[in-house]
Amino acid sequence: MSLSNLLNDWTRYRQGIEEGGFHDYEHIFGMAIDLNKCIGCNACSIACYAENNLAVVGEEKFAKDQGMHWLRIERYWDEPDLGADDQEFQEHGASFLPMMCQQCNAATCEPVCPVAATYHTPDGLNAQVYNRCIGSRYCSNNCPYRLRYFNFYSYYETSWPAPLDQQLNPDLSVRDKGVMEKCTFCIQRIRVAKDTAQREERELVDGEFTTACAQTCPTSAIQFGDLQDPNSKVSQLWKQYQVKLGTTEQSKQNKELRGYRVFESLNTEPCVMYLDRVREV
């Protein structure tokens, strides 16, 4: 199983390089995150906890790096692009980076899974099949973004003492120990939108659905949508900033234009585009 998985991925990967990204998916859900707008408030992260049944692991386990924050706001103090890092004060504030699964099209986590628990869906999503996962943790070892979270314990036993459990979202499961989990681009929300569209015999409409994080972001820093739909807001943004799939280095007409993918040189083909932070110096 893993061999065919691997071969499939390899074929897609080859094809992607030759043809500027692989586009044989029905949808390719993607994001645009504007770091000029992100204020680092963490609302998106808590929205994700609420939407996706993320467990609270508690002080001791958090100290051992077991926090289950599918979406974490990284905060860096250095600013390599603005030169010297030896100032006395943090004069340009902080650098915030909302980091969730980058939904790589050439996901490094996928081919290493011995049981194909993580695989690519026809929607271009990097999915995780919980009841297939055997907990080898190869995928998380292989994720350059460190965005996979392992259930070392049955966190649910302590995370939702009654009646907190009544808040759990019935549209997705609660995970037990031994399985890997991570951001799904709120697949259950996509599912509802797709089902509705199907029932109404029409195409998905951009804007009729979004992820929990994008929904709540007070500054609208996060945009979510289908990169296969040329008219979607997110496609327009990728186009506007000349960021393309199928490359390890963006070549832009105007070199100064914002827009990049984190670690794209690794050829993971992430579907999340970041727009550079801006500071007046």
Partner: protein, 744 residues
């Protein structure tokens, strides 16, 4: 309501619509709400046929009560349970967005440490009793036939508004009490007072989305402000092309400061001098006209020359000149003062100096707009201040009360030790707390009445930030599900029964608070209902989550006045300044019982589950401490021990210990976790307003010789050369994204 006739005027007063003869316009009432799933036309979960559609989530409108901003929410309800909260896109306050505290509202509601039965003190212990017994006890103490002297009854609450406020006023009137204290540890009382005096509007609209430069003296707009989401959405606009610049001047970095283009540390208490130094530079070097100002004001401006300002603040003259230059070149600007500036002995004067900058720069009317006047004063927001805590404490010291009610605030946790609140409360014969939790205040009370959660209760709210210059919303809070515990009651219901127990005739006809609200809506002035029938208006309001109210037109004035700021004095035995900073998250401590928020990394330090103290690397080096080491922070009022987090976003003379943790009660998630910096505040009050000077405490810090590790997210504070957060300069941004939205 039936039985007796009341005059229309009085009737309107009973119903909260008493006012000053408003000009009212019609409202735009949607016929349906667009719902994310199912697309049902839904009014309220109260209509049973729409209540449960198996497998389908339905969204109902309500109002967030996690802070006093009162954002509009949609609650996703499935199989009778509320699962998720989202912003109501129609809200004028938050435009469909929520902050992390709002998102966590469901964990307040479903919190495992809620109290589910009334509790009465018998001997030393609080024991669970029935409502009958609880109400009988209340009746004995404050009922009609009790011997209570109304003057000796006090109500102590957090910010409130809407019909709950109308009912509470009616109750206090019926008792004969004139003592309603409204307290918020996080407030903007000083700025309000200055604005009222200088601009003729206590809460003008700040429009930084229209500003080319935002200069903030410690105003944490995006974090601990009067409307975090409202200001954050505006900030998103402000940062869009043609992107405004943001300068933040504060003792320790706030969430807002973390987003600044230029972050400038300052010694708390010197901001007023800095503001005058800037004005001096603008007038004397940059051609700003001061001739319209009084001689006294001009005299003051002359006194604070840049050299003097530089000496007092420790900020170089070049830097002061740079900021003045920015104010000149980037117009219109908006200059705001926040807690670090307000919370000083002369915070009022310092805030006035900051506001004077707006007058001189011509910002008034451009980036500061009139907020208009809300035509129904009975329902208007009663915004909290800390002065009310201080006057309450001093009244307690004089043994002025026999009965005190607490609700919506937890003063026993947030009051400084020096106020001796707990000791003085012990002398109050009967203390009642209306609360969802056994917090520190409930724990010292004699009677605790368990409240419904805000997601189970009815209410109306009027926010005092948000809205336009023409309209504002009365937002509606409706239950998003059936109450979890039979023996909990709504706030309005409790006040209504208190009113009935006093035998107040106008209210005896209402079965419950819901019936009262329905009647209040039936009596809505026609100018608001737009002629809609009673039922249609009620249902439409519930769907929309708000009623739009036309404001009386207001106008800003400009009455600049002289406000001398005192010289900052060093205190050799307590050489450091304490910054008890507030955070979007724990807030004033009310959210310490929410597991999601305890485990949410702090925006600045990324610490979870515990307290920390922020100090500058140079301070840390002198003390010989590094991240995680324990230090002792000692004021004249006491000491706390806390782990240290070292970063360059703190003034070297400042130690910042965020408030919100250090609970002695308040459930499993909050109790015994972290420290409470508010406890060691010194007895410093703001001269003019009588507010607690939150940033006026001097401390000394020492190495507590205890090595430890901070529990926080992320191993690396640096990108180690990887392109994680790429930064471009504003110049590049302007070249590529320009003034318009064109990308070339």
């Amino acid at each position: 309501m039936s039985g007796h006739e009341i005059k229309r005027r009085d009737f309107l007063k009973v119903m909260g619509w008493g006012g000053v003869g408003a000009t009212l316009a019609g409202c735009d009432m949607p016929t349906t709400v667009t719902l994310e799933e199912g697309k049902e036309e839904v009014v309220s979960y109260m209509s049973p046929e729409e209540f449960v559609i198996p497998g389908i989530g339905i969204y109902y409108a309500s109002t967030c009560q996690q802070c006093s901003a009162g954002c509009g929410i949609y609650g996703r309800v499935r199989e009778g349970r509320v699962l998720k909260l989202e912003g109501n896109p129609a809200s004028q306050i938050n435009g469909g967005k929520l902050c992390q505290m709002g998102q966590a509202g469901v964990q307040t509601h479903y919190n495992p440490d809620r109290i589910t039965k009334p509790m009465l003190r018998k001997g030393k212990e609080l024991v669970e009793v029935s409502w009958d017994e609880a109400m009988a006890e209340l009746d004995k103490r404050v009922g009609k036939s009790s011997s209570v002297d109304g003057q000796r009854v006090a109500w102590f609450s957090g910010s409130m508004s809407g019909h709950q406020s109308v009912l509470l006023d009616a109750y206090l009137e019926s008792v004969g009490s004139k003592s309603h204290f409204v307290y918020e540890a996080i407030n903007s009382a000083v700025s309000r007072a200055v604005n009222a005096e200088m601009l003729g509007d206590a809460t003008p609209h700040y429009r930084f989305d229209k500003a080319a430069l935002l200069l903030s003296f410690g105003a944490d707009l995006l974090g601990a402000s009067s409307s975090p989401v409202h200001y954050s959405t505006q900030y998103g606009e402000f940062r869009s092309a043609p992107r405004g610049m943001h300068v933040q001047i504060e003792p320790s970095m706030s969430l807002t400061g973390a987003n600044a283009d230029l972050w400038q540390p300052v010694i708390p208490g010197t901001e007023g001098v800095l503001a005058y130094g800037l004005i001096n530079m603008l007038v004397n070097k940059m051609g700003y006209d001061a001739s319209g100002l009084s001689l006294e004001v001009r005299g003051l401006i002359g006194k604070y020359d840049p050299a003097y300002a530089a000496k007092v603040t420790g900020i170089s003259e070049e830097r002061i000149e740079k900021i003045a230059g920015l104010l000149k070149s980037k117009s219109p600007s908006l200059v705001l003062a926040g807690t670090s500036t307000e919370g000083q002995r002369d915070g009022y004067n310092a805030t006035a100096a900051v506001t004077l900058l707006n007058v001189i720069l011509g910002n008034v009317g451009k980036t500061i707009e009139s907020s208009g006047t809300f035509p129904f004063p009975q329902m208007a927001a009663k915004a909290g201040s800390s002065r009310d805590l201080l006057s309450f404490a001093s009244a307690l010291g004089k043994k002025q009360y026999d009965v005190v009610f607490f609700h919506g605030t937890n003063p026993v946790h947030t009051a400084p030790n020096y106020l001796g609140l707990v000791d003085n409360l012990a002398d109050v014969p009967f203390k009642v707390t209306l609360s969802m939790f056994l917090d520190e205040t409930a724990a010292v009370s004699d009677l605790v009445l368990p409240l419904l959660s805000s997601l189970e209760d009815w209410g109306t709210h009027v926010a005092d930030v948000g809205g336009s210059t023409q309209t504002t919303d009365v937002t509606i809070q409706q239950p998003l599900m059936k109450q979890l515990y039979d023996d909990t009651r709504g706030f309005g219901d409790i006040v209504l029964s208190l009113l009935k127990a006093r035998g107040v005739e106008e209210y005896t006809g209402f079965d419950d608070y819901y019936a009262y609200l329905r009647d209040a809506f039936s009596s809505t002035p026609e100018a608001i209902t737009g002629g809609l029938g009673t039922k249609a208006f009620w249902q439409g309001s519930l769907q929309k989550g708000a009623v739009s109210i036309q404001l009386d037109k207001g106008a800003l004035q400009s009455n600049p006045f002289a406000s001398e700021v005192s010289e900052h004095k060093a205190d050799p035995s307590y050489p450091m300044h304490l910054a008890p900073s507030a955070r979007l998250g724990m807030w004033d401590g009310r959210h310490a019982n929410i597991p999601w928020l305890q485990e949410a990394p702090d925006q600045i330090s990324k610490v979870v589950w515990e307290s920390w103290a922020e100090i500058h690397p140079s301070t840390a080096a002198k003390m010989g401490v590094t991240n995680g080491d324990m230090i002792k922070v000692e004021s004249r009022q006491g000491a706390i021990k806390v782990k240290v987090y070292v970063h360059r976003g703190v003034h070297p003379n400042v130690v910042a210990v965020p408030m919100g943790r250090g609970h002695e009660q308040y459930g499993r998630y909050a109790k015994g976790r972290g420290v409470n910096p508010l406890k060691i505040l010194s007895q410093v009050t703001e001269n003019k307003t009588g507010e607690l000077a939150l940033y006026g405490t001097r401390v000394k810090v020492s190495n507590a010789s205890d090595k430890g590790t901070l529990i926080h997210m992320g191993d690396s504070e640096s990108q180690v050369g990887r392109k994680l957060v790429s930064t471009v300069t504003a110049e590049v941004f302007k070249n590529t994204e320009g003034g318009g939205n064109s990308v070339a």
